[in-house]
């Protein structure tokens, strides 16, 4: 009886949370598939805003968004993808290598260096933006990919996560590998990195979200469409009145999909390694 009540309560709560989380996403999807802008405005006041009947599905909004010459969405998506992928992939290697050296090499000032890295975590991007902008302007990198990639590769929080993991990795593993003839590079590349898969997944999700959604920095350093990321394009698109909701939502869907896919991919990986760790 009591138990039954508890499970009903739990189920209700779960449904509630699901609805709260899914509602905006449903709204976005449904609206993006409605070809008639008038109908969208009428629906907004009702529950039909979250739903599109299969008969009314139209890809018109997507066609429009994708064919807009003024704002080449595919180009923006490509820009974002290149920038995010570069930061994440290079970042995984650089940050894990830094963390591995910090965890294994003993040198004077190691503790201090680590403390500096950790304290860098709390400095917000906004505080660094202006001096960084001046530097980037000086090297003539404005309106490029690299201006959006290079400054973000080194990521203190990722370094910290990797460091935490590596210090817990038994030193006997390193020693066994050294005895077997491995070089420090082989220990990093062949042991430490593959074993840190859960950390890699976490770091990849964190960093890719940060970069994909970043707004302020791209706004400061890009002018034309060549290097502009999709986040910025959406804001511009949205900011041009009057908003055409169908198009805005189609745009939003196209912007969210890649992140969602990446996340789902990594999540599977993430859960797998968590399970493996539990078995050991």
């Amino acid at each position: 009886m009591n138990n039954g009540f508890a499970s009903v309560a739990r189920l209700t709560l779960a449904v509630f949370i699901l609805v709260v989380v899914l509602a905006p996403i449903m709204l976005m999807f449904a609206t993006s598939l409605k070809g008639d802008e008038q109908q969208i405005l009428i629906d907004f006041g009702t529950w039909r805003a979250f739903w599109v009947s299969p008969g009314d599905i139209s890809l018109e909004n997507y066609r429009q968004v994708l064919s807009d010459v003024q704002a080449p969405l595919l180009r923006f998506l490509l820009n974002s993808a290149v920038i995010t992928a570069s930061v994440v992939v290079v970042g995984i290697f650089v940050n894990s290598a830094v963390a591995f050296s910090l965890s294994r090499l003993e040198f004077k000032g190691r503790g201090l260096l680590l403390a500096v890295f950790v304290s860098l975590i709390i400095i917000p991007m906004e505080a660094l933006a202006v001096p960084l902008l001046l530097m980037m302007n000086r090297v003539g990198w404005l309106d490029t990919y690299q201006v959006q990639i290079v400054p973000f590769i080194a990521h203190p929080f990722s370094i910290f996560l990797f460091y935490q993991f590596f210090t817990k990795l038994p030193r006997d593993l390193d020693d066994a590998a050294y005895v077997e003839g491995a070089s420090p590079w082989q220990v990093y590349w062949g042991l430490a990195l593959p074993l840190s898969l859960p950390v890699i997944a976490t770091v990849a999700i964190l960093q890719s979200l940060e970069i994909w959604n970043s707004y302020l920095w791209p706004l400061m350093v890009t002018r034309g469409v060549e290097a502009r990321p999709v986040s910025l394009a959406l804001a511009q698109f949205f900011g041009t009145p009057p908003p055409i909701w169908g198009d805005v939502m189609a745009f939003s869907v196209l912007m969210s999909l890649p992140v969602l896919l990446v996340y789902l991919g990594f999540q599977r990986w993430f859960i797998q390694s968590a399970v493996n760790a539990a078995i050991k």
């Binding site: 038994p170 006997d172 593993l173 020693d175 066994a176 590998a177 050294y178 005895v179 077997e180 003839g181 491995a182 082989q186 042991l191 593959p194 074993l195 493996n276 078995i279 050991k280």
Partner: protein, 342 residues
């Protein structure tokens, strides 16, 4: 196969001296065991030979090479760790093949060597498993497999069996012994376990606080310990040491003077009587282990004394139990220095 020579070896961590003036020669093909209390520097000594620790001063020779400045991989050694240190993301096969892959051994030769090691260690059905899916004994065999495929000159083991349960330890001990005779290799083995030391070793090195207390065959150490530390460290339960106050008139005659301790091993003591006994002891309690009794006593000076007796001891009229042992089983040590006397 090669000999190992340590000359005047010192190792400090900062101001802490962990190894002090270690001189030791381990012959080619010998099975050498390091024993000693926890923290005495056994692992450090082993790791210094492996090249995983830099020594502060002194020389390490393996074969004809002075290896101080060589990296572990160039020393021709292999090592088995207490934690096994298997690579969790690699299969058993890849764990065993690890060193060969790094050495870029040709594929065919590599396969043959891994297969041979797997056969010898009965690992054939497990080759495609990951270490997480193996039992402790199987993991240890994989670790040994990884160490034998490269045909090292010297095998190093750091307490390889201490994570196994008692029964498995006995089996693995035998297997390691067989491995030694089959490979005819130089092996250096660290252990806490007396029985492992006594059964496996050609030569035992007893360490205390970074100093070698004695080197010798198991029988040497058991029958002629150089000092009270070794006397009490080798053998279980430990050797009883008596001062002249503990002894009877007859017992006192066994001592040259009052500055000498008389040592008797529990397993050599027999119940005697007031006239023939060497020590008079107050019984406290006794444990019946079926095959024998472990009888506990208190000596006149208040020390606990243990004797391994095959009959239940009955106190004499004065409430004391009198024990004796044959002359050749008596040990004498200087009270001050702890060194063996004659």
């Amino acid at each position: 196969m090669a000999n190992v020579r340590l000359t005047n070896l010192n190792k400090n961590y900062g101001s802490v001296e962990v190894l002090k003036n270690i001189d030791l020669e381990i012959k080619s093909g010998e099975f050498c065991v390091f024993v000693g209390p926890s923290g005495c520097g056994k692992s450090t000594l082993l790791r210094s030979i492996a090249g995983l620790e830099d020594v502060t001063s002194g020389d390490v020779h393996i074969g004809d090479d002075r290896v101080n400045d060589m990296r572990p991989k160039d020393r021709g050694i292999s090592m088995v760790f207490q934690s096994y240190a298997l690579f969790p993301h690699k299969t058993v096969y890849e764990n065993i093949a690890y060193g060969l892959r790094i050495a870029k051994v040709p594929k065919k030769e590599l396969e043959e060597k891994v297969a041979e090691a797997a056969r010898a260690l009965k690992l054939e059905p497990l080759l495609q498993r990951k270490p997480a899916n193996l039992s402790g004994g199987q993991r240890q065999r994989v670790a040994i497999g990884r160490s034998i495929v490269r045909n090292p000159r010297v095998f190093l083991f750091d307490e390889p069996l201490s994570n196994l349960d008692a029964a498995l330890r006995v089996t693995m001990r035998t297997e390691i012994g067989q491995l030694h005779s089959r490979l005819d290799a130089t092996m250096i083995y660290v252990t806490h376990d007396q029985v492992e030391a006594m059964t496996l070793a050609d030569k035992i090195v007893v360490l205390r606080d970074g100093i070698i207390e004695q080197v010798g065959t198991p029988v040497d150490l058991y029958e002629r310990p150089d000092n009270t530390f070794v006397a009490q460290f080798i053998g279980s339960p430990k050797m009883n040491l008596f001062t002249s106050e503990d002894l009877t008139e007859k017992g006192k005659k066994c001592l040259p003077d009052a500055d000498t301790l008389l040592g008797m091993r529990p397993e050599h003591m027999r119940v005697s009587d007031m006239k023939n006994g060497l020590v008079a002891l107050t019984p406290t309690h006794s444990e019946n282990l079926g095959e024998y009794f472990l009888a506990y006593f208190e000596s006149a000076t208040g020390e606990e004394v243990i004797a391994k007796l095959y009959e239940k001891s009955v106190p004499d009229a004065d409430g004391k139990v009198y024990l004796e042992t044959i002359k050749s089983r008596l040990h004498r040590f200087n009270k001050e220095t702890g060194l063996r006397v004659a």
